[in-house]
C-alpha cells in the first residue's frame, strides 16, 4: 500500500488501478455486449438517433444459436479441447522431467543445455511454421489433430522446462537428501517428495501451456484446412469472416464461448497459480 495522504493513495494507487482494470476488462465487456445484441442494433451507424453502443435493451441468443446451428462450432470446441489437453500433458511430462534433470542432476553441460532449450523457445513461431509444415507434410499429418499435438510441444516443452527448472531450484535440496538417506532412490525421492511439493509449479505451467495451445493461431491456421478439423480461433475467424464481411455477432459469441474454458481453468487454480509463479515453497 502507498503510505501517506489520501490524495497520494488516489493518484498513485487507486486511479492507476482503475484505469488498468478498465483497459483490461473493456474488451471482454464489448465481447459480451456484442454477443447478445441483435443484428439490427449492431449495424446501426454511430449517428443514428437511438444509437446505444454500451448497452442493449433487446438481448438475443440468435448469434449463439447461429454458431451451433450454422457452423461446426461444437466440433471446433471439441478439437481445441482435445488438442490443448493432449499437448499440455505431453509438454508437462517432458517439462517436469527435463526441469528436474537440469535443476538437480549435475551432469556436464547442464547449463549449456538449459540455455539451448531456452533459445528454441525464442525462435518465433511465424518463422518456425515453414519448416514444420514441410515435416508435417512428409509425415502425412496435415489436417489431423496430431499435426498440432506434435508441434505445440515445440514451444510448450521449453516453456514448461524453464518454469519447472526455476521451481525445482527453489525447493530446498535437503528435502531430497533427507529422503535419500531415509531410503528412497533418486526416482522415489522425486516421485514421493519433490513432485508433490512442486504441485503449484506444475499446475501453473500446466495452466499456461493449456492457454497457449488453446489460443494458438498460426500453426492451426496452416496445418488444418477442412472445417471439421479446425480449432476455435481458426474456425471462428475463417468461417465467420467471409471476404470483407465480418459477422460480428457470431464472431463475438464464438470468442466469448471460446474463452470460457480458459477462464474456468484459471479461476479454479488461481491460488496455486500465483504461488507457483512466485516460487514459494512453504515449509
Amino acid at each position: 500500500m502507498i503510505e501517506g495522504a489520501l490524495w497520494r493513495r488516489w493518484v498513485f494507487y487507486n486511479i492507476p488501478l482503475i484505469l488498468f482494470v478498465f483497459v483490461l476488462l473493456f474488451p471482454f465487456y464489448w465481447m459480451i455486449v456484442t454477443t447478445f445484441r441483435p443484428d439490427g442494433e449492431l449495424y446501426l451507424p454511430w449517428n443514428a438517433p437511438n444509437y446505444m453502443p454500451f448497452w442493449t435493451n433487446n438481448p438475443t441468443l440468435e448469434h449463439i444459436l447461429y454458431l451451433f446451428e450454422e457452423t461446426n462450432f461444437a466440433r471446433w470446441m471439441f478439437n481445441t479441447m482435445f488438442i490443448a489437453l493432449v499437448s499440455t500433458v505431453i509438454s508437462l511430462f517432458c517439462g517436469v522431467l527435463a526441469g528436474y534433470a537440469l535443476a538437480r542432476l549435475n551432469f556436464p553441460y547442464a547449463g549449456g543445455l538449459g540455455t539451448a532449450i531456452f533459445i528454441t523457445y525464442l525462435v518465433p513461431q511465424t518463422l518456425l511454421f515453414i519448416p514444420l509444415a514441410e515435416i508435417i507434410r512428409n509425415f502425412q499429418l496435415g489436417d489431423t489433430p496430431w499435426s498440432l499435438i506434435l508441434t505445440y510441444p515445440t514451444f510448450l516443452i521449453p516453456f514448461c522446462t524453464w518454469l519447472m527448472m526455476g521451481y525445482f531450484k527453489a525447493i530446498p535440496k535437503e528435502l531430497e537428501e533427507c529422503a535419500r538417506i531415509d531410503g528412497a532412490s533418486r526416482w522415489k525421492a522425486m516421485v514421493y517428495i519433490i513432485i508433490p511439493v512442486a504441485v503449484p509449479g506444475i499446475l501453473s505451467s500446466g495452466i499456461i501451456a493449456f492457454t497457449l495451445s488453446w489460443n494458438e493461431f498460426i500453426y492451426a491456421l496452416v496445418f488444418l484446412s477442412s472445417p471439421d478439423q479446425k480449432t476455435v480461433p481458426v474456425g471462428v475467424t475463417s468461417e465467420l469472416i467471409r471476404g470483407d464481411v465480418f459477422f460480428w455477432g457470431p464472431l463475438m459469441a464464438g470468442a466469448l464461448l471460446g474463452s470460457i474454458p480458459v477462464a474456468i481453468v484459471y479461476s479454479f487454480f488461481v491460488e496455486h497459480y500465483v504461488s507457483g509463479l512466485t516460487g514459494s515453497v512453504k515449509g
Binding site: 530446498p172 535437503e174 528435502l175 537428501e177 533427507c178 529422503a179 535419500r180 538417506i181 531415509d182 531410503g183 528412497a184 532412490s185 522415489k188 514421493y192 517428495i193 508433490p196 511439493v197 504441485v199 515453497v281 512453504k282 515449509g283
Partner: protein, 363 residues
C-alpha cells in the same frame, strides 16, 4: 554397535580443497562434535559420511565396511538437517513413517515405532499436523523423531539447533544430551557454536581451513589447546593473547612486551628456554586473572588500566589494556571498579599458555 573411521579423507570442489587429510576414529556410542568457523570443512566432512558428497580421496568406514561408494540409503544412518527438511506436504506421522515405508516395514511395526519415538520426544499430540503448523522447536523434534524411528547405526546432525532462538537452543541441547544417553547411538554432530560442542560432545574435533586442529575431550581442549586457534576458539569469553618476546631475566625465562613482563613457571619455563629470543604469543583465560593480593608472586603480576566494565550479574568482565595488549578478566561480582581505574592484577601461573608466533603451535 557402530564405529566410524575416516582415513586420509579429502574433498576438493574444483580447485578449492575444503577437507584435507582428515583422520579420525569415532568410537561406538560416542557423541563426536565437529566444531569450527564457517567454511572450515566440518559440514562437508559430515556430508561425506552421509554419502551426500563424493569423496575425492581417502576412505570412510562404518564398522568394518568401506562405504565410499555406498549410496546414502544403504549406509544405515539418519541425518538431522539445519532447516529440518520436513516433508511439507506430509503430516508429522507420515514424515516419521516415510523412511520405514521406503524400507518396506510392516504396518504394525511402523505404528509401534512412530508411537515410541513420539512419546520419547513428547510429540504425540502433533502427529496429525502438517509441518507448517508447528513451531520451530516442534519441527526440530519431528526431525529428531524421523531419525529415531529408523533406529540407525549412526546419527548425523548438521547444526540442528542453529535455527532456534537462544532459550530454546539451550533447552534442546539438554534434551539432545539426554536423548543420546538414552539411545546410546554413535552420533556425529556439526556446529559452529563452541558452547554446544563443549556441552554435548564426548569428544570434540576442532577444524579450520579443512584441517583438523585438535581432537579431544572438551576439557582437554579447554585446558591444553594444541595451538592458538583452538585456544581462541574454545571458551567464552575468549582467551587473552599478548604478543611477547621470550627472554632470559636473571637466569629465568620471562615473556616480555613493552609495559608487560610475566614470569614463566616450571615446565613451561623449560620449554620456553629452548626458544629464548623468539617471538611468541602468551595466552591466559579471563577467569585465570584476578586482582593481585600479597600472596601473589610479583613475577606473575601486571598493571592494567580498565577501559570498560561489563556487569553480568554472576561475574564482572573487565576490558583492560595491559601494555600493548587488550585483555579481558573475569572477576568477582562484588568488586567495585570503574572505567579508567588502574589495577594490579595477577594470573595463575599454572594456567599460562604459550604459542609459537610463527607456527601458532603450543610451546
Amino acid at each position: 554397535m557402530a564405529e566410524v573411521s575416516l582415513h586420509k579423507l579429502n574433498k576438493k570442489f574444483d580447485t578449492t580443497h575444503v577437507v584435507k587429510d582428515v583422520d579420525l576414529q569415532i568410537r561406538d556410542k560416542e557423541f563426536m562434535v565437529f566444531v569450527g568457523p564457517s567454511g572450515c570443512g566440518k559440514t562437508t566432512t559430515l556430508r561425506m559420511i552421509a554419502g551426500l558428497e563424493a569423496i575425492t580421496a581417502g576412505e570412510i568406514r562404518i564398522d568394518d565396511r568401506v562405504v565410499n561408494e555406498v549410496p546414502p540409503m544403504d549406509r544405515d544412518i539418519a541425518m538431522v538437517f539445519q532447516n529440518y527438511a520436513l516433508y511439507p506436504h506430509m503430516s508429522v506421522a507420515s514424515n516419521l513413517a516415510f523412511g520405514l515405508k521406503m524400507r518396506k516395514f510392516e504396518k504394525a511395526e511402523i505404528e509401534k515405532r512412530i508411537n515410541n519415538a513420539a512419546s520419547i520426544l513428547g510429540i504425540e499430540s502433533l502427529l496429525q499436523r502438517k509441518p507448517r503448523q508447528l513451531s520451530g522447536g516442534q519441527r526440530q523434534r519431528v526431525a529428531l523423531g524421523r531419525a529415531i524411528v529408523r533406529d540407525p547405526k549412526v546419527f548425523l546432525f548438521d547444526e540442528p539447533l542453529s535455527n532456534l532462538d537462544a532459550k530454546l537452543r539451550v533447552q534442546m541441547r539438554v534434551e539432545l544430551k539426554k536423548l543420546h544417553e538414552r539411545l546410546a547411538v554413535t552420533s556425529v554432530y556439526v556446529t559452529h557454536d563452541q558452547v554446544e560442542a563443549m556441552t554435548l560432545g564426548d569428544r570434540v574435533v576442532v577444524m579450520k581451513d579443512g584441517l583438523v586442529q585438535q581432537v579431544g575431550e572438551p576439557l582437554e581442549l579447554y585446558n591444553t589447546p594444541a595451538n592458538r586457534f583452538v585456544a581462541g576458539f574454545i571458551g567464552s569469553p575468549a582467551m587473552n593473547f599478548a604478543d611477547v618476546t621470550l627472554v632470559e631475566n636473571g637466569g629465568k625465562p620471562v615473556a616480555e612486551a613493552p609495559g608487560l613482563r610475566i614470569g614463566l613457571p616450571g615446565e613451561l619455563a623449560t620449554r620456553a628456554r629452548a626458544k629464548t629470543g623468539h617471538k611468541a604469543t602468551l595466552g591466559i583465560r579471563p577467569e585465570d586473572i584476578h586482582i593481585a593480593t600479597a600472596a601473589d608472586a610479583p613475577e606473575y603480576c601486571f598493571e592494567a588500566t580498565v577501559e570498560v566494565v561489563e556487569q553480568l550479574g554472576s561475574e564482572i568482565l573487565l576490558d583492560m589494556r595491559a601494555g600493548p595488549a587488550l585483555m579481558v578478566a573475569s572477576v568477582e561480582p562484588t568488586l567495585r571498579v570503574r572505567a579508567h581505574d588502574s589495577l594490579k592484577l595477577a594470573l595463575k601461573p599454572e594456567r599460562l599458555h604459550l604459542f609459537d608466533a610463527k607456527t601458532e603451535a603450543a610451546i
